[in-house]
Assembly symmetry: C2
Homo-oligomer: 411 residues x 2
């Protein structure tokens, strides 16, 4: 990999060769992929990337840690739409609002970006089986991307994972272990099993390549805005890997000279489960919290990648903000009604946080903001109905409909 | 519209000016958009279209019945991936298999193509409210596309519509009437309400423009194969509008000289609900049937667009084939496991039919086949679980996992 210098521990600074199945540092710290930006600049430019006809995350190959002959996995991951939302921007009182609908990835979440990378690296390393634990989306995306590439998967999910995600896993042919416990216990069991059976490890906090897949969402936002960063990027934070990936993406582009300024990150967590945000706000070490939000994808009381995430928020001069479940449900309704985008609870949590900050006057009126919708609402239809209510049930009778219609008009 | 000559009744041949809110012929027949292929050829070519950087269905504007100044609706509809599936092709014993995953549209079904067109035409005609009846996908796609464009919707669904589709409707802010009756009764109620309140009519069998949106799936398949048709295109048939649209798309390209041969259409219906297939096979007029299949999107006993559909199957020299619910569930599993694509039951019914025909030796070994996956399995997770089974439930205990693993290995 000519574009990669090494893997470096974010805790102790020790450097490693970039083996495709590298895990954590021997000190326990998480590794980070270190790039040679001079090399990247010598082989690519904003213009050369924009001229690519590869409309997937793999158009950013100069910024991705894979060998030159590594094949792009089969599913079409990335290049999700970035919608401009002028009506919503006006309501929020900001200059520009963009919605990045990553629910339109093949298995309907941003996690496909990490899984596509994971599958590519597992094949590089010569594995035929991959495993992970996940609150749901990482798992279903791994199962789908691995199935398309002909790899086997063992997946560990906490029993609370919503039915949509479990159905995906099973359909994609994964061996699925629904763990009677919380995310932490699920993660620990998967870790033991992976160690014992020698599978490729697709846990984002252990496998440092996955974040490099996730960062492509940031590369796309920048390219879709004509190679510039918005003033703010708002997204939900759980384990911490996604916000860390977003920050890495913007920093990569900045380091290579492809963009000339960086955005501030708005990290949105649940008021009940927000260890990363509290640490970012107070500067104190993070503390475990209970897992208690309808936004299952970010219901992470013991985050696995807190250091990179906290650093991303602080280094960007960003804003940590917490929202209630009711605010998340309201964001589901508003994003659906105003933008035609149906996000899962964690998928619209970024929007909920931005809405709160705008109401509090914390976002300047001339700001441009990109909100990442990280997962599709079809994964969690029960909360969709909870947010938006039941339909009107009626006999097939025009007189009865007329009455209903008049009542609706009178409201 | 310089590319459109007129609307012509497929029953009596009477011609009409192409008004944006045209409905059916006064004889009751369905209208068809008639193009000026010389004009289309004079303003476009395969090369000019392939050079477009508009990666949506609207890249085919020379073939679409809209005014020059009509704005493309906001959601990113179309240009879904066409995956080549060599492993599945080998299993089926055919030369080439392609999977067109139309479940990756914004509201997760092919129907977004019709709804994007419907929204464009409603705005052309000056309406602010659109209505339709639907087994589910047409409805949710209309609600989403209309919401993004700032239009109101009234939607009529039969009470059996799966929760995923209902959740979408409600989230997109539609007024949803869940009709205590079958699809026929739902359709009739919507027709009366539309007539009485003067909404824009997005019922695909009444509004002839919608099929022109649907046909873009065929235009894409041809372009993605380098401007040629595969030998066969397999898809599920319900109301008949989609297969008629697919045929129109290939014929448009052929008439304009963009492709040099036409595919045969494989129309797949449920053994229990197959009025169009029986009519296509026997040459007799179609007869109403009961609605009885898990594939809710094609559970249509009284099809609303049978004539165009039957004509498409017969004229293409195509094959009508019927499958059982069990064969549909098996196709869900196989398409998920082998291709990493999760289709709803009707979404994989085309694959089920192709599988049956291949097993019966009815598809030549040197054939190339494109299968259209018309909707995402996340819309109907209950049937996903039915197809693929439940996960293994386990305490977070490595000893217990080891035992499970050994049992799995012994199988």
């Amino acid at each position: 990999m000519k574009n990669v210098k090494c893997l470096r521990c974010i805790k102790c600074g020790r450097e490693y060769e970039a083996a495709p199945d590298a895990t954590t540092c021997e000190c326990g710290g998480i590794l980070d992929v270190v790039y040679d930006y001079d090399y990247i600049r010598s082989v690519s430019s904003p213009e050369s990337i924009s001229a690519s006809d590869n409309y997937t995350m793999w158009r950013y190959r100069p910024f991705l840690p894979v060998e030159e002959d590594t094949k792009q996995p089969p599913l079409r991951v990335g290049w999700s739409p970035l919608y401009e939302e002028p009506r919503m921007a006006e309501k929020l009182g900001i200059r520009k609002l963009y919605l990045k609908d990553d629910g339109l990835n093949p298995t309907a979440s941003l996690k496909d970006r990490a899984s596509s990378m994971g599958v590519a690296k597992a094949i590089e390393a010569g594995y035929d089986t991959i495993s992970c634990s996940s609150t749901g989306n990482a798992a279903s995306s791994l199962a789908g991307n691995a199935a398309a590439a002909g790899l086997k998967t063992y997946i560990f999910v906490p029993e609370r994972a919503p039915i949509g995600k479990v159905a995906q896993l099973k359909i994609f042919g994964a061996t699925v272990i629904s763990v009677k416990g919380n995310y932490e216990e699920t993660f620990e069991l998967s870790k033991q099993a992976i160690d014992e059976y020698g599978w490729y490890n697709r846990n984002a906090a252990i496998n440092c390549y996955l974040m490099e897949g996730k960062k492509t969402v940031a590369l796309e936002i920048a390219e879709q805005l004509g190679w510039q960063a918005p003033d703010y990027v708002a997204l939900s934070t759980g384990d911490g890997c996604t916000i860390a990936g977003v920050w890495k993406g913007f920093k990569d582009l900045y380091s290579a000279g492809f963009i000339d300024r960086l955005p501030k990150l708005i990290s949105v967590q649940s008021v009940n489960t927000c260890p990363i945000n509290i640490a970012a706000r107070t500067g104190e070490p993070w503390q475990p919290m209970e897992e208690n939000t309808i936004a299952d994808s970010i219901s992470v009381g013991v985050p696995r990648n807190p250091d990179k995430a906290i650093n991303a928020i602080v280094e960007s001069g960003g804003i940590p903000v917490e929202v209630t479940d009711d605010e998340i449900l309201e964001a589901m309704r508003v994003t659906g009604r105003e933008c035609g985008v149906f996000g899962e609870p964690a998928g619209v949590t970024g929007m909920a946080g931005l809405t709160k900050l705008c109401a509090e006057g914390k976002i300047p009126a001339d700001a441009s903001v990109a909100v990442i919708v990280s997962g599709n609402g079809l994964k969690d239809t029960a909360n969709g109905i909870k947010a938006a209510g039941e339909p009107i049930r009626l006999e097939p009778d025009m007189d009865k409909f007329r009455k209903v219609f008049e009542e609706l008009q009178a409201k």
